[in-house]
Subunit: 379 residues, 4 copies
């Protein structure tokens, strides 16, 4: 639900409730609790039940050039194979205790594959996607369907699907992986299974379009042979050309005086499962936002956390008390209930080509499925 | 549900149950029933509760050339305007008592608009669509959004949306309208409201794409500004280029040995609501079927009725005991639980270009919503 | 949806649109239509697309004493057995062309079983229920579970369940049957199958509670062994004691100043499927209404039709332009969009015991499933 | 989904993948990762992506007598009031780092209220319930509706409902609280708001039944005045008499040869939301299990965690490698994917009165909403 502006969230904090006066008897009681593995609510409530989410995570930015350089070094030093499974290097939020978590629910990594390399097949209950900020040449083989990866492409992949990667090009390729690893780690829902060491020659082909795209990539149409709803999307790649066209259309509609954008100068599309119209994955939402040159978005907070990657353009991002200049490939996190505002760089011309394009993924589907979603715009 | 082949429908008919021996007392009883407006079950059960649907409708074909010729005559004799509302001429199934019903639930008509003509704005709870077998030049204005109509385009329009038509071309244009008029007539759910006599100049523009298409016509993407599910599809036109590409892809996948078609040589796509993945309208399903040259489909029966229009190619259609040669524009009906089989004409070459393309609409969503759907394939 | 009072339904009727001036050419055109089995919209639109539902059915009342007397005569003259299946005598709305339809979608009948008689087992896709206004002694065997029937009990039974009846008492018993026969007849969705001629001795037992009630008749509780949702309710009988208590509670809450009733003095409960919280049957809604002594309900119209039976008390019912005094057992129909108001008889005391209790069933679930539901209250 | 026995979960572990040979270059790479706040997958995958859930929590039992004694001491030493809010003392799983978490998602506590005491009103997004193993005299006021609490009663309360407690009796009362505090803490979805310091005199009444029970506590019936589905159940108390009757019925049905129990000798009911038929709370499932005297249940594992409290009887519980004798009031936890088996004590007679009754709550609704549910029975 979107927060009603007329009834703002109470800011009276539970914070530090008055505690009973320490006495020997109280001390003895607390020792009794400890012995019996008990903890009273009245000493913990401020942390456990805050008036609004106070994320353990902090806003942070990772620079793409640094990631790319370290990934390339790893490409020369660390082989890819069974056991380690993937040459993926994860963002570790500085406030999450040295865990490889971008946020309390989301995992984000740069993955890197050298020319000719293969990442072996496996499957897991964790939901995953890939997004390509630059380069091409890798095909991800999902359920034996080779899916091409190129700049701007988004590749969701629901849990428990077999998948492998192979680099068919003569140069390395990097992309980002997003998964719900921390969420499933906390919920303790994870299963994992090894697949084949090597994919077949047929799967090593490099088609221009995946079979999934040929079946499911036509707007408003579905094959009559597959009538049901699926948990994750059957469309395995969302091509940049489509995403770009949709964003361009929204800004043009706005220019003509029609609705469509999120707010003035701010277009956004959500990747959806064509069998339901809902999110591509049960636990992860993914979107592409375009902020027109010289535009600043209204600060918006949401229960739940997000990770963003700059796809194109440059600008300034403000998350809570932090503010950074960002450009292509930079990644940053927005912790739960922290306000985010984005300002795209004002260019010399007012053409849209200078827009700031941001890829975003978040844990919102979890919140919506459990009726815990809330959002507020600070105007 | 698809009929389990291991438990075929019982063919023991209730048909003509034995009746009690006529006596004066029985006669008197029956007169008593009549006086009190009562009818016993035991005399009616064979008709009311058959072992499987025995449609009151019969299979029938209407020839496009005849329809077109009569519609053109009407174009010169009958004006379009407030009151009559539309120059639409409906198929009347010969077994439905002179009612303008193609089947017990579906209404199908040819609509015809002369150059420069306008059909006035109105709205109604009946769900509707338009499909264009040939021609162009008319724009349907739905909720003030002008939607172009061209050969192969499908335009669904959920109930209670304002809509008008205007012919911007210098020649007449024909298309077919499909509605759930008989269903809503039987259910007694209909509401109707007049709109403006004339649409505005701005709505009289002739854009290449509707605004709905610009917002909703990108595969797997939706505007973040419109996150909910809608009863009818927000996408107001499904262009032929997309439909054709989807069908071509299915047959090519089949040729490569992959799944996707309904049965060998038979590709089919369903038009869907991108906010739900389900049917475009609550009461009407619409599909485009392509039967490869020289292919015959398996006889299939379904609870509920359909209307088909040949979009391209030619072939032979068998519905129950009827069989017809059909070609472009011809319309035919398939009554409930009557088997349908289609054979496309074998051409001189085996290229797909000679395929038989069939537009289909049916009342299946009603059956599915109420858990009354059944289908069986006679192999 | 409930009609917004600020935007009342337009009362401008399409009714009788102006017709084109008759000319020889027009006559010839109309003959052409006839030959080709075509019917123009402009001559039919007033009937097909009214501004609001104008039911073909009319309000009508059937007197219980007359029904009972005729049913008893039939009990002596017409045997029950295979073929005729049931000694059921249906209400035929006087405006529905001699069809055994209470309304365009609903069938309602009195069923009558003599001492020791058995109605043979069968099943059908039509959804059905039984309601008992007086008497006891019959058990309905649904899927081999004997279900007792007593005054005030409601017994829903979803389509395609095997069922039979047997009268274990030494006197005849009558009750009403409600089915969606006209709806399924129009939609052509019906399947029917004969079962066993005779039920087993074990099924001929006369338990106080059905097995379904023992599993599903505990408030807010369900067996862990049956976790899913079912199309029809698994609870096969709703006992009067529970219904009566729920209605009494609502009126007492109202008397204490709390919400709960539909309107002042008007309590109502809906029978629900405990696996979904929704209606007991996919096509039929059933409710029990209690109107406190001396209370008059606000006129309410609804898209869709209803049948009512007076369960207890007496009063005056007004449906559209008709008005009748009614008492125990009387049945009446409310056609689509006709306003209904009920006034219970003012008694000599103000105790609730003189309330007017009305059993109601309607086709509303069809309308809701297809988003065609509308209602309005005339205040 | 229930695990298919023919395809057991792979037991090949990722566990400790081979690591690249340490070299100075590798060391430098790892230092680079650290500086940039990056962590490679190949060193962490064994912990992050196990072949099946390996819970951080451990099985553990808490003895009711010890809890009760400490709670009573707290009753004399620690006041209840604004800030601390509740005299609740939480189970701290010994393997969860000193956090007051029974499992990674569930919070469980004993709450204690002295005669005449009041716990102030507040509300929070955390979903909560109360279950009473013994005693009576407290009313929980939810949205101004006083709800009685007595032995065997279950009181669910969906997030964001105002609530307070008051002890109207002349003796202390204890019960258990269950909440999804750890889950919402990890997801960072929590909101909290203080309400009134004191409830009104009217709310301080001690009715036999809550208003919610009077409206919603009738089997299979709902008020027509409240037709929609609600996120949490509108029924605020589930009385022991109903739960007991439902369990008794299941075991009697089993004894008569009919289905209904979970497995031989093991009856179980789930508390449900009458507006949906689903779980009472979006994140918490609650059930009451009855294991007949001398019966042992099959070991069952489930993705997700549970907390149990013995309501009556005694027996032996085995969770993974742990095994305990338990009796009334004892609480124990079952971590994710650990097998649980229960053996009730064989009594001197075979009457059901010696059954082992277990209250259970779990996080399963979270898993089902996100399609992450799995279960397996080890036979």
């Amino acid at each position: 639900m979107t927060q009603d502006l007329a009834s703002p969230v109470s800011l009276t904090a539970v914070d530090a409730p008055d505690q009973p006066t320490p006495t020997p008897e109280l001390e003895q009681l607390y020792r009794g609790f400890e012995q019996e593995l008990l903890i009273p609510l009245w000493t913990e409530i401020g942390d456990l039940m805050p008036v609004h989410p106070r994320s353990r995570a902090v806003p942070h930015v990772w620079r793409w050039q640094n990631l790319l350089q370290l990934a390339d070094q790893a490409g020369h030093l660390v082989p890819v194979g069974r056991g380690g499974e993937r040459r993926a290097i994860a963002l570790a939020n500085p406030a999450l205790g040295g865990k490889p978590y971008a946020t309390p629910t989301l995992w984000a990594a740069i993955q890197y594959l050298m020319p000719g390399e293969n990442a072996p097949e496996h499957r897991h209950t964790q939901h995953a996607f890939r997004f390509v900020v630059e380069g091409e040449g890798v095909w991800t083989v999902v359920g034996r369907d080779p899916v091409p990866m190129r700049r701007g492409d988004f590749l969701p992949q629901a849990g428990w699907n077999w998948h492998a990667h192979h680099n068919a090009a003569d140069r390395p390729m990097a992309w980002i992986d997003g998964l719900d690893i921390p969420f499933q780690y906390n919920a303790e829902s994870q299963f994992f299974e090894f697949g084949r060491e090597a994919i077949s020659d047929e799967e090593r082909t490099t088609p221009e379009r995946s079979r999934s795209q040929r079946l499911w990539g036509h707007p408003g149409l579905r094959p009559v042979s597959a009538p049901g709803a699926t948990v994750g999307t059957p469309l395995l790649n969302y091509r940049w050309a489509d995403t770009d066209a949709a964003l361009t259309d929204q800004l043009e509609l706005e220019a003509e005086g029609h609705p469509g954008t999120v707010e003035p100068g701010h277009a956004a599309v959500r990747y959806t499962n064509p069998t339901t119209g809902g999110d591509v994955l049960p636990t992860i939402r993914a979107e592409l936002h375009r902020v027109r040159r010289g535009t600043e978005t209204a600060p918006r907070r949401e229960a739940g956390s997000s990770v963003y990657q700059v796809f194109d353009g440059s600008g300034t991002v403000t998350v809570g008390d932090s503010s950074w200049s960002v450009s292509r490939g930079d990644l940053f996190v927005v912790p739960s209930w922290q306000p985010l505002s984005v300002r795209s760089e004002a260019g010399s011309s007012d053409s849209d080509s200078g827009a700031l394009d941001l890829f975003r993924f978040s844990d919102t589907p979890i919140f919506e499925a459990l009726h815990l979603d809330r959002a507020a715009v600070d105007r």
